[in-house]
């Protein structure tokens, strides 16, 4: 026991920062950070505009614009590109649906793989058929655009909930 007691030499207080849930694409096709905690969202200022499709998984993501499809790293920097086309995303893969081809990001480059459509499933929603947009905000959060409003859907097991994302432009930070 004495040995265990000496495990901790000291506690280093590292950091207090603004919590960020992830990134999302708003109604004006802009990618914005989503600050706050569940039920108290503060949409941040746009970091990209003209975005056709977007998916963020916390440690990286995908972005589709007129310039093509981009693989983003954890900092949001573009690390690989593909030509534009209809696409569905997963944490590490992009499924070019028109070509029926999947590319997987292995941390260094995109590699071709067989298609497994189950990988690209989105959460089941009661109003899924009516949703205009379902995109991941982070690992446990999805953005659902439904009847002109934006919702953040938490999918953490046991803590599933739906919240509304306020969208007025006047308070973009």
């Amino acid at each position: 026991m004495k040995y265990l007691l000496s495990l901790f030499t000291f506690a280093l207080f590292a950091q207090i920062e603004t919590p960020r849930i992830g990134f999302w694409r708003d109604a004006q096709s802009r990618v914005r950070p989503l600050h706050g905690v569940a039920g108290n969202f503060i949409p941040g200022a746009a970091v990209r505009e003209g975005v056709v499709a977007f998916a963020w998984y916390g440690d990286g993501g995908w972005l589709r614009s007129a310039d093509g499809i981009e693989r983003l790293d954890a900092s949001g920097a573009t690390v690989a590109r593909l030509p534009d086309g209809e696409a569905r995303f997963s944490a590490s893969g992009v499924w070019l649906t028109n070509l029926n081809v999947v590319y997987r990001w292995d941390g260094r480059s995109l590699k071709n793989e067989p298609v497994d459509s189950a990988e690209f499933a989105v959460p089941h929603l009661q109003a899924e058929a009516e949703a205009d947009q379902i995109e991941p905000i982070s690992q446990d959060w999805w953005h659902v655009r439904l009847r002109g409003r934006s919702y953040a859907l938490r999918t953490t097991p046991g803590r599933e909930a739906r919240f509304e994302i306020p969208e007025a432009e006047d308070e973009a930070r």
Binding site: S6, L12, I16, N40, P166, D170
Partner: protein, 421 residues
């Protein structure tokens, strides 16, 4: 329009020094000019224009010159006492023309006992948009012979009146009830013509007043960290369609305190409804934020201007998410939550091995300055994400879990057992 029946005689070669006002502007008159027809006792005014500073004379019963301006404009009034054809000589700067007019008995249109002259404005007063204002006119025969009314034309609604044509015996009258319904705010003017005698019906449309309203919420108690739904309910059905605004103000500084649309929202209310609509929805989301204070919601709508307050009390720290991870030779505890008092102070951490046996004593951290500095600069209300890093001198894989507790000025919050993967 009263001059529409004017007949200009162009036979004369008189110098066009005298002009008469027509619907298309002033026109030169010839040797004679016919002013039109009016009821005995009903003045018929006609505007003329002559040379500036001209001497104006008119001779003949029932005619008079009035409103003479230095620029040469003047009015000839024909006011006959009895039926018949009348004429007079009008001399302007030495040039003479003949003016003619006819007096013919027609029904007298009266309102509240007063006879209305042609061209009169009949005021229906102020009325809410969508509602109908009513006026009852009386069509009277003040002459000594039977009169016939053949035609009544109006853009207003005839709510009650005689079937046309109809005869009025001397000394009798019939009511004519009219309705005006403004469709928008401002003056509504519509014509009324009774056998060619024209009047203007006027009402002033105003924003409808709504029944008393109240703000309802789906939350039993409004606390920090909530999204509640606000709904505006009126005491009774709205008589007309209307709308208003809902404005949020907050006593503190927290951008998360807001409505779904920002800090202002507009709503509409359909006629026959008692629930306001925000777009297509019957409610609107309000975020209560993560700062203690008072949220005020002001509703402004016709007949309503009131505020409902939601007092957000200080509360112990609320933890939304907490994780403990092993990163090499360190244990990292990440806590996300909010402190609506912004008075977070000490934190206690207690580590245990995989069997649940305590490892050492409680680690107490009191990072007052870090909290203060963060809340002063974050501009994000009371939300925070804290990462506490614990370097381990020995084998960190022996650590199985950590329990944490965080305190602010209101109380302590147990974060519970965080199991290390």
């Amino acid at each position: 329009m009263k001059l529409a029946s004017l007949l200009l005689c162009a036979a004369s070669a008189l110098v066009a020094q005298i002009q008469v006002e027509t619907p298309t502007g002033f026109q030169p008159v010839g040797a004679s000019v016919t002013l039109g027809v009016t009821n005995p006792g009903d003045p018929l005014d006609t505007r003329f224009r002559g040379p500036a500073q001209a001497n104006i004379q008119i001779g003949g019963a029932a005619f008079s010159a009035r409103d003479i301006l230095s620029n040469g404009d003047f009015t000839v009034r024909f006011l006959p006492a009895a039926e018949g054809s009348y004429s007079a000589s009008l001399t302007v700067a030495g040039v003479t023309v003949i003016v003619r007019a006819t007096a013919q008995a027609t029904v007298v249109v009266s309102q509240a006992g007063f006879a209305l002259s042609r061209g009169s404005v009949i005021d229906f007063g102020v009325v809410e948009v969508g509602a109908t204002a009513q006026q009852t006119l009386l069509l009277e025969n003040r002459s000594t012979r039977t009169l016939t009314v053949s035609k009544i034309e109006t853009g207003a609604t005839i709510l009650a009146g005689p079937a046309l044509p109809f005869n009025l015996a001397p000394g009798t009258s019939v009511p004519l009830r009219l309705g005006l319904t403004p469709a928008s705010v401002g003056f509504l003017e519509l014509p009324l013509s009774i056998d060619g005698r024209e009047f203007t019906l006027r009402a002033s449309g105003t924003i409808p007043r709504l029944p008393p309203a109240r703000i309802m919420t789906d939350a039993v108690a409004v606390l920090s960290g909530q999204q509640v739904r606000l709904r505006i309910e009126f005491a009774e059905d709205a008589r007309t369609a209307s709308g208003g605004t809902l404005e949020l103000t907050f006593s503190g500084d927290d951008p998360a305190v807001r409505l779904g649309t920002g800090r202002v929202a507009t709503f509409s209310l359909a006629a026959g409804s008692r629930v306001a609509k925000f777009g297509a929805a019957e409610d609107i989301m309000m975020q209560t934020g993560t700062t203690a204070g008072v949220i005020r919601i002001r509703v402004q709508a016709p007949g309503n201007d009131f505020v409902r307050e939601f007092r957000i009390e200080s509360q112990p720290v609320v933890v939304d998410d907490a994780k403990a991870t092993r990163e090499g030779s360190t244990i990292v505890v990440a806590i996300t939550g909010f402190d609506n008092s912004r008075g977070a102070a000490s934190m206690n951490f207690r580590f245990a091995d995989k069997a649940g046996n305590p490892l050492g004593s409680v680690f107490t951290v009191t990072p007052d300055n870090e909290w203060k500095s963060y809340f002063q600069t974050s501009g994000m209300g009371g939300v925070f994400r804290l990462r506490a890093v614990f370097p381990v001198a020995g084998d960190s894989s022996l650590v199985g879990s950590v329990t944490a507790e965080i305190a602010n000025t209101v109380g302590r919050t147990e974060i519970g057992k965080l199991t290390l993967p």
